[in-house]
């Protein structure tokens, strides 16, 4: 397999995980950016454990997930009842704080970065096994009692309260889940690029994920799945002079999508329509 394809596929998997992490909390009506900071935490934990202490991949992954959970749990306790925008900005602040702390951690390489991180065998397969498991979990979660509760909270918080949904704890656990997802993405990222620099885990990364999620559609988990490879992939195919403008293209796509198709390209209704027409197609074929 060409090395560029390998990188593209693993990155896509990592971004899908991050996209889902933002998505799952946003389904609950809150735009939470902790996954990016948790990604840094997970990446550095995994890198340190595998390089310095020679841990194998799986225990390092589990340790990173634990780290991500703890890392997101503490602020989640405070942010669970924060109004929407406060949470958004506070968690962006968290990205910056994490970066600053990492820059000043000499034993983690500081600004110069943490080098020669060992890579797990079959990273591509590992990545997509994880994506599949996480995807299945979210798929089931959305069809569970919790998923329906989230749906209600997204539409109207006060109605949710009257239905005795504990919006506070629902929010806290979703944030922790998102933190764990972020940490997993971080572990995969560390294994892929093998050099960690605090600058990686920045606003730029967050904006990419926003673009994949809001252009793809934030009302279903499939928006991220379909549009991450498309939006991440097409600049790679463009001539370099155009591909350089990737950020501007992403920015324009975000603006245009929010103005013309506020729910994103893939909406619930669209999925429904596709389902119906596929069914109709098969029924017609059977008839003829």
């Amino acid at each position: 397999m060409p090395i560029s394809l390998f990188y593209f596929l693993v990155f896509t998997g990592i971004f899908i995980l991050l996209g889902w992490a933002i998505y799952i909390v946003y389904r609950n009506g809150q735009l939470n950016n902790v996954p990016i900071a948790a990604m840094a935490v997970g990446a550095y934990i995994c890198a340190y454990l595998t390089r310095e202490l020679h841990w194998p991949f799986l225990p390092a992954l589990l340790a990173a997930m634990g780290g991500g959970a703890v890392f997101s749990f503490v602020p989640a306790l405070g942010l669970g009842r924060a109004p929407g925008f406060s949470m958004t900005i506070a968690t962006i602040a968290m990205i910056f704080i994490t970066q600053t702390v990492l820059r000043n951690m000499a034993f983690l390489g500081g600004v110069y970065g943490f080098y020669s991180i060992p890579r797990v065998d079959h990273l591509l397969i590992v990545t997509y096994v994880i994506v599949f498991i996480v995807g299945f979990f979210i798929f089931r979660l959305e069809r569970s009692r919790i998923g329906r509760a989230m749906e209600v909270v997204f539409i109207d918080t006060s109605v949710a309260r009257t239905l005795k949904i504990n919006t506070y704890w629902l929010s806290v656990w979703l944030q922790v889940f998102a933190g764990v997802l972020g940490a997993i993405a971080g572990v995969l990222f560390a294994n892929l690029v093998r050099i960690l620099v605090p600058r990686h885990f920045s606003l730029g990364m967050l904006l990419n994920i926003y673009c994949f999620m809001f252009v793809g559609g934030y009302t279903t988990m499939w928006g991220v799945v379909v549009f991450t490879p498309i939006l991440w992939g097409f600049p790679l195919l463009l001539p370099e002079a155009v591909a350089e403008w990737k950020d501007t293209i992403y920015g324009l796509l975000l603006v245009v999508t929010m103005l013309l198709r506020p729910e994103g390209v893939i909406s619930k209704k669209m999925l429904w329509d596709i389902k119906v027409s596929v069914k109709r197609f098969f029924i017609n074929r059977r008839k003829s």
Partner: protein, 291 residues
């Protein structure tokens, strides 16, 4: 003692600039329900426009300042149509995302096109570094004095308009009871445009002060400023105009002292740490949110 005084002056300058920006930001939030993350980016764009004009006119300071303020107004008004439909739908999150998109575009363009993406530097003559007052080693330069006084006057002017004129009262009514404002015949569309214009004026003025205070600008400045401004707004409680001023001064001072006594790297982290704590302890800000 002199060191302390220098930090206080710096704090006042930062606080003054934040006060201008947070007032403009809150105005847009109150009048149209728009979460204009890209507001500071527009201001940075104004700094670049001013720099270009300075280069073309051979450092004509008057034209440079005029360009900064005018472009602030023009850019402010130009963004109104983009947000209009969102503001009518009451789509606050969508407005934030659109603003993010605009911010990405501005940052990207500044980092590639103007001056090949290299940080721009303003002529020394614009900084007004002539010492005006001197206390031992602490010097208040003409530029610093102008910035402090200017931001007080500009903010004072906006508050006068909002609280002492008919138009300002109509704008506040629109913020407090948006549905009713239209029913009783206030020209809501014109007023919304007016709020973008006022925010644009504030942005233009603060771009001049930032030019004097920093002497340079780079493409990343927009994001840094945006987070500071949002931090101030959330610290006070979103949409709280008066609280925003107090918070701007508190945060300006805090930042100045952290920069004075700790390594520069930590200044932003401390500011953001304060935000985290405030949001967690008092989610609606210290002075409370306004609808």
């Amino acid at each position: 003692m002199e060191f302390l005084l220098a930090q206080i002056i710096n704090g006042l300058i930062l606080g003054g600039i934040y006060a201008l920006l947070v007032t403009g930001f809150n105005l847009l939030l109150l009048e149209g329900g728009v979460f204009q993350y890209a507001y500071p980016h527009l201001l940075v764009l104004s700094m670049y426009v001013s720099w270009l004009v300075l280069r073309v006119t051979g450092n004509n300071i008057f034209l440079g300042i005029l360009a900064a303020v005018l472009s602030g107004i023009v850019l402010g008004i130009a963004t109104e149509p983009i947000f209009r439909s969102l503001s009518k739908r009451g789509a606050a999150v969508a407005s934030f995302i659109v603003a993010l998109g605009i911010a990405i575009i501005i940052t990207d363009i500044l980092s590639r096109v103007i001056n090949k993406g290299i940080q721009i530097a303003f002529p020394e003559s614009l900084k007004g570094e002539k010492a005006l007052l001197q206390f031992g080693y602490a010097i208040i330069s003409a530029g610093q004095m102008l910035t402090i006084l200017g931001s007080f006057v500009a903010v004072g002017g906006i508050f006068f308009i909002l609280f002492k004129t008919k138009t300002g009262r109509a704008m506040r009514a629109m913020a407090q009871v948006p549905g009713v404002a239209r029913l009783i015949g206030l020209p809501v569309n014109a007023m919304s445009l007016y709020s973008y214009m006022l925010a644009g004026i504030l942005g233009g003025i603060s771009s001049v002060f930032l030019i004097m205070a920093l002497g340079s600008a780079s493409s990343g400045l927009g994001n840094t400023l945006a987070l500071k401004v949002l931090a101030v707004a959330i610290f006070a409680g979103l949409g709280n105009l008066g609280g925003g001023l107090v918070s701007a001064l508190i945060l300006g001072m805090a930042e100045s002292f952290v920069m004075g006594y700790m390594r520069g790297d930590w200044a932003n982290a401390v500011a953001f740490g304060m935000i985290m704590i405030i949001v967690m302890v008092r989610p609606r800000g210290i002075f409370g949110m306004k609808a």
